[in-house]
Structure formats: structure tokens, C-alpha cells
Symmetry: C2
Subunit: 270 residues, 2 copies
């Protein structure tokens, strides 16, 4: 049997990470859990986030048999990766370090920009991961992008305008700090759906790095020794959520870029 | 001593209701509670919302001495007004019925439009309250408006454009249903901050009704018999929140239209 990869997010945005994983590991089995009853993690304390994330990780490992975990939630990756690693006996990969590593591979100037949610920016997890790799990073929260994606306005002129406003502000701030950025990291699971609009808004020559893609690449590299045996002819995916299954099913397919199918409701307790 | 009015919201949006109350009851004492640790209520079950709202109401009555409660949260008003009334021995006023009554007073055609959050629309509480008054109401969720207000873009061209997109859709749907609406109800505590943009976007002659204003008017009418004694020379306001005091203090002043001052952190338990 091929290994089961557990993928965890506070909501369903992490389906963009699962989508990237499916492209690289088309014959694996996946269990995805969205802790939709307790989102948003971003407004909660580190301790609460760690408890929720550990419970979610344990569900994927103990009840779904996951042998490898991908934390597709930027907030949980930023604030609870240690707690998750302590809670389960399998390898755990977050989205932030792969994103920072892809930025290092892409950048020539060593100066990178990061756009993310307010909670991720306030954690400064990307800046820290970039600094550890010798990069200078300037982060900016873009709170309107998640609701625009969830409204389905991924190609709307309004969204293009909002992206321009944010990028102008971010580039202005970078210039004021004497930075010369050549790479932009998409530090939120929702942003890959805006990639076409973002790519047409960045200055010529600027590279756009998608943390979801970078994480899937790292996972595929780490997993290749685990692979083997009789692979199924197609990937197997089961999706679980702790609440709001209807919204997950309705919006999830756009994130996964294929039908999410039936989402199973699970109760992780308080 | 003048009575203490307790004002409750899941977040700080209900400060627009407090603002309207302060204009009508400039010498009362107010205690405002935002249950910011547990927002958004909109994605939670009716039972959970009822429990949270009852706990919040009890805090205002038992610990702050509130003699009258205004539920400034549309979701709690829609789903938990009964539970709150059972939980506390003081009069309780929600925002939905005053909004519907103001719409009836304003409308000549009897057809009204309601814009609100997704959770409020899905509860159909405004449609039911309007129907009970002999009005036909068409509701529409406008999920981008709250984040636009919280981003501070209350006068931005992007926001004006988003409002036009939503209103065009709503007016088109009304026409398709054979309705002749002449009144638009703002069914979300954040929307009063968009009133100038909304008023310049509606068709000529359409009345815009603000539930916050309507609720404050009703509260002032109900409270006048309670008033009396030695009134303070100015209103007294204490603000409490269950989490994210910093965001409350930072954004709250715009909603209240005066400094919110120090927000006190309270713990209502799980």
C-alpha cells in the first residue's frame, strides 16, 4: 500500500496545497482535514492554536493512518509546528520553510516580498525563515484577498485593482527601506487562485513563488523513499471537516481544481 | 443613578449601534461587550451561538449591572434572542425587528431590499420580520463589505465599485421577481460606515434604512420611562472584549466615532 499523506488546514484553503501534492504524487492516498468549526486560527492565542492543531494532527495519524503530515495552514505552521511534531510520531512539514527556500532559490538580490494574512504577517514567521536563509524579507498583510477569492472574484477587475493597491504600497515601502526585491512569496493558501492577476501586476522580471507549490515539491522529495509497492492507478482523496461541510463542498472544488466529493464531518471536541 | 445599558456584539461592529445610542441617550451609562474570542458567530450552530450569547448577556447583567440589553449582533439577534431573553431578567432588544419596522415606515411599495452578511441572510430573519409586517423583502449577502470596512476603505473607489456590483445584482433579481423596491435595509453593523457610498449608489428616491439607527431609536423610546434621577453630565462608556483587545482599540474608534479608550479583557470561559 502506498503511504497515506495527511494534509491539515484550519479551513479549506489548504486544498491548494493538496492540489499541488496531487500533481506531484498522483498515485498516493490523501486524507485532508479542515478544522472549519474552529477557524479562523489567526485571531486565537498560540496555545489554543497549538492545541487545535495537535488534535487535528492526531486525528489524521491515529484515525486515518497518515504516515506523513503536511501542515497546509500558514498560521499553524507559524505558531504550532513544534507542538504538532511533539503530538504525532510521523514526519511533519509546514508551508513556511519550503516557501522561504524557494524564495532563496529564485532571488538574485536577496530581497524578497511576502504577502499573507494579517495573522501570518504578525507572526513574522516568513521573515524569520527568510532571515535564516540569508534573505531580507518585507511582509505585508492583504486582508481583502481571502474574501475576494471566497466570493469567486478571482478574475474580477475589482480584484486586479485591489492587488495593484497592495503591491504599490508594498513596493513603495520596500523602496523606502532601500530594498531591491526581485521575488514575491504568496504566503497564504488562498492566493494561488489569484496567481494570474498577481503575475500581471508585479514589476517585469519579478518572480512569484507559491508556498503551496514549494511545499508539495519538498514533500514529494521527502516522500520518494517511502513510496513503492503496488501503487493505485489514481490518487485516493478523502476530505474531512469539523463544521460547515456545505461551504467546503461548494467552494473547495475551485481550490482543489477537481471535485472534492463528499466531505465527511468529524468531531474533534472542544 | 441613570440605568446601565448593556450592548452586546460578537465583535466590535456593534459599536455603530452604541454610537447611535449615545446620540439619543447622551447621559446614560453603557457597558459594551464584544465576544471577540469566539467570533465569527456566523459559522457556528444555533445552539453554540445561543450559549455564547447567553453567557455574554449574563456578564453584562450580573457583573456590569445592565438593566436593559441591546443585542447589536445581527446573527445573535436572528438566532438567539429567545435564549438571551430566557437567560437574563431584563428587557432585551435585538436589531432585526427595529430595522424591519423602520423599513415599513419608509416604504410605500411594500417591497424592500436587505443587504447583510452571509450568516444573517441564511437565517432569513429579516425576511421573516418584514413578512410579519406585511412587507416583501429580498435579501442578499455582501461578504466583501465587512473586510473593506475593516481595511478602512470606507471611501475607496474599489469599495464604491463593489457596492455597485452587489446593488446591480440585487436590483436585477428584484426586477426578475416582479418586485418594486423603494427601501434598502443595512442589515449589518459594519455597513453604516459605508452609508455615504451606498446612498450615492442606490437608484434615485430609494430610502436607506440603518438597523443601528432604528434600534437606537426604539431603545430610546423604551428607556424613557426608566430615565430620571441625577443624570451624569456626559455618557459613561466601558468597553469589554474576550480577546484581541488591540484590534478592538485600533479599529473601534472609527465605528464609535469617538475614542473607545481602554478596552478591558474578560474571560467568559469556553
Amino acid at each position: 500500500m502506498p503511504p497515506i499523506l495527511g494534509v491539515f488546514d484550519s479551513g479549506f484553503g489548504g486544498l491548494t496545497v493538496l492540489r499541488a501534492l496531487l500533481r506531484r504524487l498522483p498515485q498516493a492516498r490523501f486524507a485532508f482535514l479542515g478544522d472549519t468549526a474552529r477557524l479562523p486560527y489567526g485571531s486565537k492565542s498560540r496555545r489554543t492554536i497549538a492545541r487545535y492543531a495537535a488534535q487535528s494532527a492526531q486525528f489524521l495519524v491515529r484515525e486515518q493512518g497518515a504516515e506523513f503530515l503536511v501542515i497546509a495552514c500558514n498560521t499553524a505552521s507559524a505558531l504550532a509546528l513544534d507542538a504538532i511534531q511533539e503530538a504525532v510520531p510521523v514526519p511533519v512539514l509546514g508551508v513556511i520553510e519550503p516557501g522561504a527556500e524557494a524564495a532563496r532559490a529564485a532571488s538574485r538580490t536577496g530581497d524578497v516580498l511576502v504577502i499573507a494574512t494579517d495573522a501570518t504577517v504578525q507572526s513574522h514567521a516568513y521573515a524569520a525563515a527568510c532571515r535564516a536563509l540569508g534573505l531580507r524579507a518585507l511582509e505585508m498583510a492583504c486582508p481583502l484577498l481571502v474574501p475576494l477569492v471566497e466570493e469567486g472574484w478571482t478574475e474580477h477587475t475589482v480584484t486586479a485593482q485591489v492587488i495593484r493597491v497592495y503591491l504599490d504600497q508594498l513596493l513603495g515601502e520596500a523602496a523606502a527601506q532601500g530594498l531591491n526585491p526581485d521575488t514575491l512569496v504568496l504566503g497564504c493558501t488562498h492566493y494561488p487562485l489569484l496567481r494570474p492577476l498577481i503575475e500581471s501586476a508585479v514589476p517585469a522580471g519579478m518572480r512569484v513563488i507559491d508556498s503551496a507549490e514549494a511545499t508539495a515539491e519538498t514533500a514529494a522529495r521527502l516522500l520518494s523513499p517511502l513510496e513503492g509497492g503496488n501503487l493505485p492507478s489514481a490518487a485516493q482523496v478523502r476530505c474531512f471537516a469539523t463544521d460547515s461541510v456545505e461551504k467546503f463542498e461548494r467552494l473547495g472544488s475551485r481550490f482543489l481544481d477537481r471535485p472534492v466529493g463528499k466531505v465527511e464531518l468529524v468531531d474533534l471536541g472542544g
